[in-house]
């Protein structure tokens, strides 16, 4: 560890003050039936209770989601009130970058002294997403109706292309081999299921029971429902939807939430179950690539960030990303000359799904847990987002991580 850069000297992440729901595939769980904002607020309170953090310790909330939800107007104060302690805060969204962006915002709030303990609460429900009706003078229909999730995935208003098309474009541009993409997806599934079995995700994922309006349980969210192991043969046999993109090499819509705290170093020591561990923000950047080339954006973003931080991938103890397409990882490996097998040791969104808002929050939590289990070091978290954008952040977990 030779780099002393610290983008938020006054803010750290208290080890262990985090948690995520499992991410059930859309329409498969009780989460399809609830106001996801309320669910997330209550779940955050529950998770923080499990981590021995009193809600009253949190003085600001950065919330993030991408799909409209009931009472959205009330934002963070509403979300925190569902957890029993109403606080101020703001809501943000940046498609699949939302989770990481929210963590950075929380770091900024704490670093600038506006908050001592800032909560991050991210969530989304892709199931039965709301339908927006937009008066639109410039269209011949005069009014447009948009199903929030699918009409956006299928249509970039700037290019007219779908997300899948961007993956196909990027795969063709970088001459990615379909077999390599299948191999990546196969490994990613194996990494996830091996981690589940080893208990590596036990400190990350919190089983939750969902109640109906009568107060009776209507379902348990205690696994990433719908996520199944897949054989290489099956992957190979799947039909291509675009170049290198099959149903097995892309993510799926899911529902869920994830939460994490950022605090001053003093408060972090009070809140953390292992105060000796210091988790700092080292650097962050974003990058926009050419239109309809989203899967290459993360690699280019990481390249930019590493250069700026004077660090290399070999300095990283954990590298983890949001990869809606396995193509992302193939391009990353190719552009940065890096063995993609070393990415995503404990699983990734390609496998466990894509609820957007909380996706990169869960990725970050998994990455930090893994880094602690490895004794500390630099942690690189990155991903892509709608608009051909990439986002990347480096954290530093102090050497005291290994227990």
């Amino acid at each position: 560890m030779t780099n002393d850069k610290n983008m938020f000297p006054g803010a750290v992440i208290p080890y262990g003050t985090w948690g995520s729901s499992f991410f059930p595939t859309w329409q498969t769980s009780a989460l399809a039936e609830v106001n996801i904002g309320q669910f997330a607020g209550e779940a955050m309170s529950y998770i923080m209770g499990k981590r021995n953090v009193r809600q009253s310790e949190i003085d600001y909330l950065v919330s993030g989601s991408t799909i409209p939800w009931h009472w959205k107007f009330w934002g963070s104060p509403f979300l925190s009130s569902t957890g029993g302690h109403r606080i101020g805060g703001h809501h943000l969204e940046q498609a699949c970058a939302t989770g990481l962006q929210a963590i950075i915002h929380a770091g900024s709030e704490v670093n600038m002294g506006s908050s001592d303990v800032c909560g991050v609460l991210t969530f989304d429900r892709t199931s039965d997403s709301p339908v927006g009706v937009f008066p639109e003078r410039r269209t011949y229909e005069r009014t447009q109706v948009l199903a929030d999730v699918w009409d956006n995935f299928g249509f970039d208003p700037a290019t007219g292309n779908s997300m899948i098309a961007s993956a196909g474009n990027a795969a063709r541009k970088h001459k990615i081999d379909r077999r390599e993409v299948d191999d990546i997806s196969y490994l990613r599934h194996k990494q996830y299921f091996d981690s589940l079995e080893s208990g590596a995700l036990d400190n990350v994922l919190v089983p939750l029971e969902v109640l109906g309006v009568q107060g009776k349980p209507i379902g348990k969210v205690e696994s990433d429902i719908g996520t199944k192991a897949i054989s290489l043969e099956t992957l190979r046999a799947q039909r291509e939807l675009d170049s290198c993109v099959t149903s097995g090499t892309q993510t799926h819509a899911a529902d869920g939430m994830a939460t994490i705290l950022v605090a001053t170093p003093e408060k972090a020591k009070e809140l953390s179950s292992r105060p000796e561990i210091l988790i700092q923000f080292v650097g962050k950047t974003e990058y926009r690539t050419s239109p309809s080339m989203m899967p290459e954006a993360p690699a280019l973003t990481v390249e930019k960030l590493l250069k700026r931080m004077s660090l290399g991938l070999s300095d990283m103890v954990v590298i983890k990303n949001h990869n809606p397409f396995a193509v992302n990882d193939a391009i990353f490996g190719k552009l940065l000359n890096f063995d993609w097998a070393k990415l995503n040791n404990t699983g990734c969104p390609l496998v466990w799904g894509h609820p957007q808002g909380p996706t990169l929050t869960r990725v970050t939590i998994e990455a930090l847990e893994e880094a602690v289990s490895l004794g500390g070091g630099y942690v690189l978290v990155f991903g892509c987002a709608a608009g051909d954008v990439g986002i990347a952040t480096i954290f530093k977990v102090s050497d005291g991580g290994l227990k």
Partner: protein, 692 residues
């Protein structure tokens, strides 16, 4: 000379002992006499004024007094501000549901409403000659005091009682009559007076339950109720568990739903009252009573504790493994400490302290009974653990010596007392339902009377805290739903206790009074050699509707004492589950039914000397299978329950008296583990309460 295990609660009202009631052959006070004393004789009656009559307390008490004072022609004046929302009209539907429209209209016609500006009394009030002011205005000391001044200036001899839930008499300058929620139904009043007044005795004579308490901040009920609310709110602060879920756990382990109760009473007012009580207490007794920040926030906002309907909870925030201990520490720790203050200040009779928790604050077992069950050592440990979580609480108002030794009959006989005059003993039960505590205390009472060489005994309710005897405490059956042996143990042990009344005295008289005597309590009383009841008392065996099979020997004992031609009456009562007026059961269930005074005299007479008693057949009897003439209900479950009871009757009667005990217990226990019972009232209660 009367010798007692402990003081009767009736004595705290200046009304003598229960034994004296039987010896004198009459009640110690009657309503007519004390209405005359408080309001003046008929023709010269003065009025009852309730100020703050539109508030939740005032309106409730307007109804309660309206019902009771109607026959005496006492005018009831409801006084409030002109702009106060009409709280009285809101009471009308409930009144009509209980008494019918015609009688309710009549009750309402004795009520006069008047407005005032808070400073000057309405001139029209004078013609009603107010004799008794029950003040139910907001909990602001200076406003209350000036209110009394206004009345005293206008009506110098007026008796004033405040319903305050917090201020002591020494602050207010008037006596206290603090009623318990719900105000139109609950009969309990905490009273603060130097000695029991005519008003307090009138309350008793009108069928209400005054309980004298000492003149200290917040009395007993609110220390316990506000205390458990505060403790629960602190648990929320410590763990983030939502209030609704904490309520479920508090209910599971202790009985109350403190947060729900606030919302039901009306969060805005109730939050303020709770906060106000605690704020006063914390000023006087320190941090253990300091309102939590969430309580203060709710006081200021008036916000409900439970989520609004459109935010019904989504995440089931259950406790994890081992969290029960933390929960117990956060809830019981302060509660035990607060109880130590109540004991230290000798705030009331032990039975009052215990029963205020049960009757008014929903505790399944009163706080003293819980402390007794936990034992001194464990209680001290819990408080010590609590002080580690909340060190400031240890600084004041903790009196461990009050619970270091839980001995003596004040502790041992919270529910059951015994006394005698050297010849005849009286056992009083101060709990409406029979549970293990009552069972244990009853055994100790019987032991004590026998040790005192008493051979004749009257078993009765306590003429004070129990206005009815409703049967067995069904929550004591929960373990039996899944454990046949536990069901058998309950049935056998409780029956054995009941048999002692028959086997161990030369003469025993069961004296039943009040509204009703049902189920397990009826079974208990029926074990006495003689059974005496007041005319209007309702008796019955509601077990079939729960359903359970009666397990304290009603299935055979009653048949053994009845003539063959009366068997069908007993069977029909048990199979139908219908209640019957006691006077209609003379000869086959009770031996005498009459007016209260006649019944008291009859009971004393039966206990005093040899009388002809109904024989208890000890050999087997053949009960015809077609003995029941109750019409089939068409409800399959009900018919199956009826059949189970009938089978128990036939089997237990067919055997000898000694074998019948085991047979009826086996039937009862087997039924309790059946699907019918689990799907019934007890099973559902169990699921709601215990499966949190």
């Amino acid at each position: 000379m009367i010798k007692q295990m402990r003081e009767d609660t009736l004595q705290t009202l200046g009304l003598g002992t229960v034994l004296e009631i039987f010896k004198s052959g009459k009640l110690p006070a009657n309503a007519s006499e004390y209405v005359d004393k408080v309001f003046g004789k008929e023709g010269e009656r003065g009025a009852l004024v309730i100020s703050g009559a539109n508030g939740i307390v005032g309106a409730g008490k307007m109804m309660q007094f309206g019902v009771r004072l109607k026959e005496f022609g006492v005018p009831i004046i409801g006084l409030d501000f002109p702009g106060a929302a009409d709280g009285l009209a809101q009471q009308y539907d409930g009144l009509a549901a209980s008494f019918g429209v015609a009688e309710s209209n009549e009750i309402m016609s004795s009520i006069t409403r008047m407005n005032y500006d808070g400073k000057t009394l309405p001139p029209a009030l004078k013609k009603y000659n107010p004799k008794f002011l029950l003040e139910a205005i907001p909990e602001i000391l200076e406003i209350k005091k000036s209110h009394y001044e206004v009345f005293r200036k206008e009506f110098p001899g007026i008796e004033i009682r405040s319903v305050t839930s917090g201020f002591p008499e020494s602050e207010l300058g008037v006596g206290i009559a603090h009623p318990a929620f719900p105000h139109q139904i609950n009969k309990v009043w905490e009273t603060v007076e130097e000695s029991p007044s005519d008003i307090t005795k009138m309350l008793w004579a009108l069928g209400m339950i005054p309980m004298p308490v000492s003149d200290d901040w917040s009395f007993v009920l609110d220390v316990l109720f506000c205390g458990v609310t505060l403790a629960a709110s602190r648990y929320h602060e410590a763990t983030n568990m939502p209030y609704w879920k904490i309520d479920k756990y508090v209910r599971k382990y202790f009985g109350p739903n403190p947060f729900r109760a606030h919302d039901v009473i009306g969060a805005k007012g109730a939050n303020f009252l709770t906060w106000s009580c605690l704020a006063h207490l914390s000023k006087n007794y320190g941090e253990v009573y300091e309102p939590s920040s969430v309580l203060t926030e709710r006081k200021d906002s008036g916000q409900n504790w439970y989520p609004l309907n459109h935010l019904r909870p989504i995440v089931n925030q259950k406790m994890g493994n081992g969290d029960e201990k933390l929960f117990e520490t956060w809830i019981l720790g302060p509660l035990i400490q607060m109880t130590s203050l109540i004991l230290h200040e000798k705030r009331s009779h032990f039975t009052h302290i215990n029963m205020l928790g049960e009757i008014c604050a929903q505790f399944r077992s009163g706080v003293l009974a819980q402390i007794r069950k936990l034992g001194s050592e464990k209680c001290l440990q819990i408080v010590e653990d609590y002080h580690k979580l909340h060190p400031e609480a240890a600084e004041n108002a903790w009196y461990p010596e009050t619970i270091e030794s839980l001995t003596g009959n004040d502790w041992n006989q919270l529910y059951v007392n015994a006394e005698h005059d050297g010849e005849i003993g009286v056992i009083t039960i101060a709990r409406e339902s029979y549970n293990w505590d009552v069972n244990d205390e009853l055994n100790r009472a019987i032991d004590w009377l026998k040790s005192e060489n008493i051979k004749r005994v009257i078993l009765t309710s306590d003429f004070h805290l129990t206005t009815q005897l409703v049967g067995a405490e069904t929550s004591d059956f929960y373990p039996a739903l899944y454990d046949k042996e536990e069901g058998k143990r309950i049935s056998m042990e409780w029956s054995k206790t009941a048999r002692r009344l028959h086997n161990e005295f030369e003469s025993s008289v069961g004296f039943m009074r009040g509204k009703r005597c049902l189920g397990g309590m009826l079974e208990l009383f029926l074990h006495c050699h003689y059974v005496v009841a007041t005319n209007d008392l309702q008796v019955g065996a509601p077990e079939v509707n729960l359903p359970v099979v009666p397990g304290m020997e009603m299935c055979h004992w009653t048949f053994r004492k009845a003539k063959v031609e009366d068997w069908s009456k007993i069977a029909n009562m048990m199979i139908s589950g219908k209640f019957i007026k006691a006077q209609k059961t003379c000869g086959w269930l009770v031996d005498f039914a009459g007016s209260e005074e006649d019944a008291i005299k009859a009971a004393w007479s039966m206990a005093s000397g040899p009388q002809q008693r109904r024989e208890l057949k000890s050999s087997g009897m053949s009960i015809p299978k077609d003995i029941v003439s109750v019409t089939a209900s068409g409800n399959k479950s009900l018919e199956q329950s009826r059949q189970a009871i009938l089978n128990t009757i036939i089997d237990s009667c067919a055997s000898s008296l000694s074998d019948a005990l085991e047979i009826q217990s086996r039937h009862s226990a087997e039924f309790m583990t059946s699907k019918l019972c689990k799907d019934g009232v007890i099973g559902q209660d169990y699921s709601k309460t215990m499966n949190v």
